[in-house]
Symmetry: C2
Subunit: 122 residues, 2 copies
């Protein structure tokens, strides 16, 4: 259909807010950026590396993630962990997500069970 | 907590993508902007009028909504309806939403059932 680009754009918008939540949830178990990419992909939430890495740095600067360097191998690697603030934010975003999910379902039910049109007093 | 502004911002990001989907779903039953505001609020999805009205005009210009003027009253009012393209887009966004929901649940399960740390071979 001619709306393919538009659909992609709207799909991205839908994902954009949830990738923060997904990252905070996943990193309650500490992990590398690469490991997180893989975990998100396996969970059915593919994110581009050049989207995720800047996001992780942003979440760290916002205090929602902490990071440490793993120097046990030749090439030091940074790993991330969701902070206590991050866990609180994730919990509240999860509640928000569930509220939106419930609202969408309520709208679908309202749409399929009501046949009135605007101005129709019935 | 000091992260209140940040939480609000992340919450907005989470809602931003879903308000398009909610509007397309709700307007499968035609309605005025004001009626939609009310329907969204009742479903537990409060949206500011100055967010929703420009969005409706945008969705119309993108071909996802159609509009007509109701001139049966002294002051003509525009009402919107989700177009055939809009219904297709809504269906696909709903699928996307459910996929994200499933992925979030999978990540939560993975986080709560796995205790390994990075580099831990177990």
């Amino acid at each position: 259909m001619p709306q393919d680009d538009l659909l992609d754009q709207l799909r991205q918008e839908l994902r954009r807010g949830s990738v923060v939540l997904a990252s905070l949830v996943a990193l309650e178990q500490p992990g590398y950026g690469y490991g997180l990419l893989d975990a998100l992909e396996r969970a059915g939430f593919p994110v581009a590396a050049n989207t995720l890495y800047p996001l992780l740095r942003r979440l760290e600067s916002q205090g929602l993630l902490t990071s440490e360097w793993d120097t046990t191998e030749a090439r030091p690697r940074k790993f991330y962990r969701t902070s206590a603030d991050g866990i609180r934010v994730a919990t509240q975003l999860r509640t928000e997500w569930s509220a939106i999910d419930t609202a969408l379902t309520a709208l679908e039910i309202a749409t399929t069970t009501t046949t009135s049109t605007p101005g129709d007093p019935s």
